[in-house]
Amino acid sequence: MKPMIVILKDGTDSSQGKPQVLSNISACQAVAEAIRTTLGPRGMDKLIVDKRGKATISNDGATILKLLEVVHPAARTLVDIAKSQDAEVGDGTTSVVLLAAEILKSTRTFIEDGMHPTIVIRAVRKATALATEKIREISINVKKDDAKEQKLLLEKCARTTLNSKLIARQREFFAKMVVDAVLMLDDLLPLNMIGIKKVTGGSLEESRLVAGVAFKKTFSYAGFEMQQKKYSNPKIALLNIELELKAERDNAELRLDNVAEYQKIVDAEWTILYDKLEKLHRAGVNVVLSKLPIGDVATQYFADREMFCAGRVQDDDLKRTQKACGGAIVTTVENLDEKSHQIFGTCDLFEEIQIGSERYNFFTGCPRAKTATMILRGGAEQFIDEVERSLHDAIMIVRRAVKNDAIVAGGGAIEMALSRTLREYSRTVAGKEQMIIAAYAKAFEIIPRQLCENAGFDATNILNKLRQKHAEDNIWFGVDVTHEDVSDNYTSAVWEPAIVKINAITAASEAACLILSIDETVKVPKSSSEISNAAKAMNMD
């Protein structure tokens, strides 16, 4: 190694110039390598154990990258785009990373040959704009007014997403469930109004969708078993009140100088609680839910009066109950009486049902059911966790598709179409940009190529077939994973919302441009790792 003149603090890592760009590109390559095999219906899962020994099994690009703890500054960019894709559209996290890495890889030769990064960046930007425009142009709009048709479309999109997941075999079943759940929501499609509850045990097909709310039985005190567990058209009170005998103020202290007052204090405390309980009872409430604890006295009081109660209900569960059943979450019972209808919610049926080894409270047939609950069943805990992540992706896709009804064909079809368009365009460009756009066009082929590789097909062969088909203007031809061939993925209903692809391509190109434009990294050792911290501590001794 060459001798160096020290300018910066000892241990500062600084590298610059062309080597820096190239080394950043290699780092990104390494990250993409880690999730390469998860793409597509024959993609594999990763098992990652973190420091605390918690195992995660996942096929979701964003989840895997998050758990890998990438520290390389340039490579972190890729993690970030995966995260942003996850936040924005929810699916396609693996493809966005692959695409970015591939764009970098294909431009690498130009950098090595001494082309200036800014020229590369300019060309990449141009190509991106063209590509997104092309997607908009060829994407197919499906009529929204026909509810039945729309539902079919949504189901197909959900199915395509689920194809690569653990539950691929049950995709029909889950796609329908996801679409039903999303369509139950109001126009804003808030994600948190779909509750996902996991109960281990049972088979996947026993999972079900509840039009309304379901949550696990909360901790209960003696007396709970004597309460009625089934009501039709109950009056539901949603509270944020502690129904417990307790000290009114923690720091208060009573000083008594007379025995007679002693009893009065005790009575006063009881009266406070009993007043609350009585108000609820007199208002004709059947089901009492509270975010705060409901103590044993209250439980027994309610049991005596044929009312049901559940304390310590989770915040989001309570909010969803409110959404579904109407009513309001109240923090006082002072003004409750029979007339205050708007405060109470109601539904057709409230019931406590045993699922597996857990008991669940169900509120079904809600008048304003803008919420849905999925109850997932399955073998192991990690299994259900992964099912939940898969369904989350599918829900996000369906939400996107509801708002944005343009779709394209998946399975590498759209990528091949873009690749062809850009390649043709590149021939019309004079100058250096021609080669870069052609390289960019080739980068798109990574998606079908990886699909083939993961499925164990001869990638070159399939790609050649695809290129030939696309040259004949069959724009929807993509990889057919089941038959080891190419097929028209539009007719075989491998559909993805166009917005997913647009977002993926933009994000990937931006990340690639960002990485290309970095020519120097200055890494100050203090923040880099604990080892240097420890070293510093040792020096101080």
Partner: protein, 541 residues
């Protein structure tokens, strides 16, 4: 080359750090990963293999604290083994979820999953893509499940004729330590379930059945109490040991002058005040006793304690009392006796009292231990199984065995379809799956055939544990099943001389078997899908 892809080098040949602590992280990739998973899964399954069936052996587990558990319940063994390996943990969860959902067949499900993994190994060596193996398994599982449904028989569920139910429970208990008094235990389990079963909803609330154990006596002394048994005695040795036609006051308030919850202080400055306080306390006690007397109760059950003064007062007023009864027990007593839990003396009224025909203290041998037995209750739908046994291990194992039996009977109440045990239904399914395999055009065929072989692992293990030549026995049965078209032929574990499981009445529930097959298949799919494991390295210091 396990760490390929995570290590990149820059232009000077220095390694670039991409992942946090990447040199200490362990990574297994590709076929290596699959092999290691399969090995781990097989190892876990092999441990359990010898516990299968009526001639299965028990395992003795010593916990870090030196507690000894002897059991042959799969779920219990696995949870006590503290499996470290991630794949091993998945199998533990698998067995647990079978336990949660069905309660029985926890060993069988792991053995099946182990066999499926073993078969997958051979297929991987042939070069079949792991996901195609998983696909094949799922296809096969579907065939097997359909066939199970076909060969299942609807079981007469008649409340007057309990024999069929008892036979099923006996099958479950056959493999347990309690099979010395199999019949008696089975009867207890069936009676207990029928006592609490809600035949209309086909639901059984397990919380109404309590299983209590007490060391001493013989297993044959185990009995079913239609009522509640609590591990408590009357608070005063001079109280009567038996109360007929008890009217019970169930209290959750302590037998002492009520105290406010708020922090308080009573300043006593003069002797007069002191006397007043004493008077007050005394008055309170008499008041309490009076309110109980007034309500007409002749027995007091209290969640809290009371001091000697109160105890004495109760005795002198001829009120037998029990103190420190736990919350769940209080609840059970309240449900059983039709009483209400009373949180305050002021609320005690005649209608809130519970009624029991007979309450007596049971005493055991020379130990001087007593238990309270509340029988002939008003609503006798709670019951307690009171298990006796020579030592703690036996009692605990008997409790687990009874739990399994209870679960099986409950499952029959829920769904009264059955299949025949002793490996009969597995062999029948294996034959069917193997037959169907030939009709599948794709390479999944191999996986389906492997699935058929894996299904035979259960009868093989059964035969082996019973001391037969496994291959010969199973192939004999197989040929007989085909020749006689009789899916009821199984392994004659008990050497009764007949293979027909119907005449041996070895019966298992359909849902239990279904669950086993679908859970095992799901889990194997999950394991096969993983091609990359990352483990945190041991910390360096």
């Amino acid at each position: 080359m396990p760490s390929v892809g995570t290590l990149a080098f820059d232009e000077f040949g220095r390694p670039v750090l991409i992942l946090k602590g990447q040199d200490s992280k362990k990574r297994l990739f590709g076929i290596e990963a699959h092999k290691s998973h399969i090995l781990a899964g097989k190892a876990v399954a092999d441990t359990l293999k010898t516990s299968l069936g009526p001639r299965g052996m028990d395992k003795c587990m010593v916990s870090p604290d030196g507690d000894i558990t002897i059991t042959n319940d799969g779920a219990t063994i696995l949870s006590m083994m503290h499996v470290e390996n991630e794949i091993g943990k998945l199998l533990v969860q698998l067995s647990k979820s079978q336990d949660d959902e069905i309660g029985d067949g926890t060993t069988g499900v792991v053995v099946l999953a182990g066999a499926l993994l073993e078969q997958a190994e051979a297929l991987l060596d042939k070069g079949i893509h792991p996901i195609r193996i998983a696909d094949g398994y799922e296809l096969a599982a579907k065939i097997a499940l359909d066939h199970l449904e076909k060969i299942s028989e609807t079981y007469p569920l008649d409340l007057k004729k309990l024999d069929p139910l008892i036979n099923t429970a006996m099958t479950t208990l056959g493999s347990k330590i309690v099979n010395r008094c199999q019949r008696q235990m089975a009867e207890i389990a069936v009676n207990a379930i029928l006592n609490v079963a809600d035949m209309e909803r086909r639901d059984v609330n397990f919380e109404l059945i309590k299983v209590q154990g007490k060391v001493g006596g013989r297993l044959e002394d185990t009995l079913l109490v239609k009522g509640v048994v609590v591990d408590k005695t009357f608070s005063h040795p001079q109280m009567p040991k038996q109360v007929q036609n008890a009217k019970i006051a169930i209290l959750t308030c302590p037998f002492e002058p009520p105290k406010p919850k708020t922090k308080h202080k009573l300043d006593i400055t003069t002797v007069e005040d002191y006397n007043k306080l004493r008077e007050y306390e005394k008055e309170k006690f008499t008041e309490m006793i009076k309110s109980i007397k007034d309500s007409g109760a002749n027995l007091v059950i209290c969640q809290w304690g009371f001091d000697d003064e109160a105890n004495h007062l109760l005795l002198s007023h001829e009120l037998p009392a029990v103190r420190w009864v736990g919350g769940p027990e209080i609840e059970l007593i309240a449900i059983a006796t039709g009483g209400r839990i009373v949180p305050r003396f002021q609320e005690l009224t005649a209608e809130k009292l519970g009624f029991a025909g007979r309450i007596r203290e049971l005493d055991f041998g020379t130990t001087g231990d007593h238990m309270l037995c509340i029988e002939e209750c008003k609503k006798s739908n709670t019951c307690t199984i009171f298990v006796r046994g020579g030592n703690k291990m036996v009692v605990e194992e008997a409790k687990r065995a009874l739990h399994d039996a209870l679960c099986v009977v409950r499952n029959l109440v829920r769904d009264n379809r059955i299949v025949y045990g002793g490996g009969a239904c597995e062999i029948a399914c294996a034959i069917e799956v193997a037959k169907e395999a030939n009709k599948i055009p794709t390479i999944e065929q191999y996986a389906i055939r492997a699935f058929a072989d894996a299904l035979e692992s259960v009868p093989l293990a059964l035969a082996e544990n019973s001391g037969f030549s496994p291959i010969k026995t199973v192939s004999d049965i197989k040929s007989q099943q085909i020749a006689q078209k009789n899916p009821r032929l199984g392994v004659d574990c008990l050497n009764k001389g007949i293979n027909d499981m119907k005449s041996q009445s070895v019966i298992e529930t359909l849902i239990g078997k279904r669950q086993q097959i679908s859970l095992a298949t799901q889990l194997v799919r999950m394991i096969l899908k993983i091609d990359d494991i990352r483990l945190p390295g041991e910390s360096e210091d």
